[in-house]
């Protein structure tokens, strides 16, 4: 793979999608306002849950706020990259424009996963990072190199798991043509990631760890921030992320053999 070429192409993707989005100023402003209101609403909701009892599943409000911060960052990443690109796969397959992607001398997964960005998602990422710094202060977390490395590793793994899940569902469009509903279900499950895993019953905890690994996405990075995490959990998250990433890649290449293109 020619890395220089891919960087050059990605620079062009960034440029063209930013230029496309900036054609519609009002839409950007509405998206920005939505991001702020959504974060305020989520924090308000979380505070209501903690109003009667100071603890949920062994977590204090200040600690649960870290999960909210990580969720906001991940949601920002979803809105910036995954949502504009991966929902487009369904459109590409339904309308047959995937033909153009497949005939370009560039990796098709790279092309369809990174062609577009939604700049309003950046605000969510920034708000999440600000909230995370606020949480670090109020929880008196000591910032050191090993902590930062572990945080970066676990958050990167969360991004990989989320991307792979979404990409996997979108790929099934090659057979099922319409998979909007499955993507919506995935998004609804992501909302669950705003709460500590311990706050759910045992059976739900198993479900969200094994079947749909939402728990890995927010809870493990949050535990790292609070110094509550154990090594096996971090290693497990790295393993899950690697398996998911490789599987989604293999699945895409396998699915392309069944692509029949839309009729003209």
């Amino acid at each position: 793979m020619n890395l220089r070429k891919y960087l050059k192409v990605y620079k062009k993707f960034l440029h063209t999608s930013l230029a496309s989005e900036l054609e519609y100023k009002t839409n950007i402003i509405v998206d920005l306002i939505t991001a702020i209101l959504s974060l305020v609403g989520s924090i308000f909701l979380l505070s209501i849950f903690f109003q009667n009892n100071g603890y949920i599943g062994g977590w204090k409000f200040e600690q649960a706020l870290i999960i909210q911060a990580i969720y906001t960052i991940l949601n920002g990443i979803t809105n910036t990259w995954f949502n504009p690109n991966l929902t487009e796969i369904v459109k590409h397959i339904r309308e047959g424009t995937l033909d153009f992607v497949l005939l370009k001398p560039i990796d098709s997964q790279f092309f369809i996963s990174s062609k577009k960005i939604n700049p309003s998602g950046f605000l969510e990422i920034m708000l999440g990072i600000l909230l995370l710094f606020f949480c670090i202060r109020i929880n008196q977390i000591n910032l050191n190199l090993s902590f930062l490395t572990l945080s970066l590793i676990t958050i990167s793994c969360s991004i990989c798991i989320l991307y792979s899940l979404w990409f996997f569902i979108s790929t099934t469009t090659i057979w099922f043509v319409k998979t909007w509903n499955a993507i919506e279900v995935l998004r609804s499950f992501l909302y669950i990631g705003r709460f500590p895993l311990n706050s759910f019953s045992f059976s739900l905890r198993i479900f969200f760890s094994v079947f749909i690994p939402i728990a890995f996405i927010t809870t493990i990075p949050s535990e790292v921030f609070l110094g509550l995490s154990v090594l096996w959990k971090i290693l497990l998250e790295v393993m899950v992320a690697t398996v998911f990433l490789i599987t989604s890649r293999k699945f895409w290449l396998f699915a392309l053999k069944f692509y029949s293109s839309a009729s003209s």
């Binding site: 070429k5 424009t97 033909d99 005939l103 370009k104 003209s264």
Partner: protein, 331 residues
């Protein structure tokens, strides 16, 4: 000797198609128990195309033309048989193969809708690993050939269909491919835009010796660009050869409209033994076989007092239309 650039041997393609009975009952049945059957859309076809050739694929809707094109460019896996395009197996979609080909579809577009076409050109240039200087040079050359200039800087959504199609062509040709797959490139264009596009393709073929495989329902595209046609009928090749030979075979007669000076002469002509198609007062339309045109005209001019005479070719659409519904042409 000119090399074969496309070599297709015993190619077949089957698709699993699901069918549904009409009405609510049929819909429910279809939802719970989908009945699929394998449909062979391409049936054991073989052909070769030489470098620099322009070949037209003719056939009715659903005959299999687009499926053939998509297998040739590597989008669809063949079920049986072999395809070799420029020495590559298309469905492997190797980078060097993809740099040699392009696909243009009249009904689908790759340009970024909200941005001027120039942005899509530079994006494609980076995908094909062209530096900025080379990309600029090629854009300039192609835009001159396509006669587009200001349109390059206007958002695609504001361009007319003709301007958009020219921009699509430029985006698809920026990497200077030597094999072009064109699927109804003139669809929906007005007569002038169609003519300009055809002119461009002729020049492009002449200058670069590019091989062009074309499908179109506009007969003018086929007659002005293609010397050779491949007729596809229900997934099989019904004719592969020169277009003029096919036309001769399909229309062995010409229509002659003769204007006589007197009605008396036209009546005499009517009874002379020609096949009469139509007759008004002193005008008569007869049909004469191609191989006896000269002698028949000589007889008419020598024996009758003729005021005017018109030789008409049967309309090409009508002639080609016969190809679309017949199974085999042995020429």
């Amino acid at each position: 000797m000119v090399q074969n650039i496309i070599d297709v041997r015993n190619l077949s393609k089957s698709f699993d198609i699901s069918s549904k009975e009409p009405g609510l009952k049929g819909t429910i049945k279809h939802f719970f128990r989908r009945q699929t059957k394998s449909l062979k859309v391409i049936k054991d076809i073989s052909f070769e195309i030489k470098e620099g050739e322009i070949v037209g694929f003719l056939g009715a809707n659903g005959a299999g033309k687009t499926t053939i094109l998509k297998m040739l460019c590597g989008l669809i896996y063949p079920s049986e048989g072999s395809i070799l395009v420029s020495g590559y197996l298309p469905f492997r979609r190797k980078e060097n193969f993809l740099k040699k080909i392009t696909l243009i579809m009249g009904q689908k577009q790759q340009l970024i809708w909200d941005l001027p076409p120039i942005e899509s050109f530079y994006l494609n240039a980076s995908i094909y690993d062209l530096d900025k200087f080379e990309a600029k040079k090629r854009i300039k050359k192609l835009s001159e050939m396509l006669e587009i200039d200001e349109e390059l800087f206007i958002p695609v959504r504001k361009l007319s269909l003709g301007q958009r199609m020219k921009s699509e062509l430029l985006a698809a040709l920026i990497h200077e491919p030597n094999i072009l797959f064109l699927d109804e490139p003139t669809l929906g264009l007005d007569i002038n835009a169609q003519r300009n596009l055809r002119k461009f393709l002729q020049i492009y073929n002449k200058e670069t010796n590019a091989t062009i495989c074309l499908t179109s329902h506009y007969m003018k595209d086929i007659t002005s660009l293609c010397k050779r046609v491949i007729c596809v009928h229900e997934g099989a090749i019904s004719y592969d050869g020169k277009l003029d030979l096919l036309l001769k075979k399909l229309s062995p007669v010409k229509e002659i409209l003769i204007v006589c000076r007197s009605e008396e002469d036209s009546i005499k002509l009517q009874n002379y033994g020609f096949t009469v198609k139509n007759k008004t007062k002193n005008e008569i339309t007869i049909e004469i076989e191609n191989n006896s045109i000269t002698s028949s005209l000589k007889t008419i001019l020598n024996n009758f007092d003729i005021e005017d005479l018109f030789i008409n070719e049967p309309p090409i659409d009508e002639v080609i239309g016969k190809v679309l519904i017949k199974k085999d042409y042995d020429i």
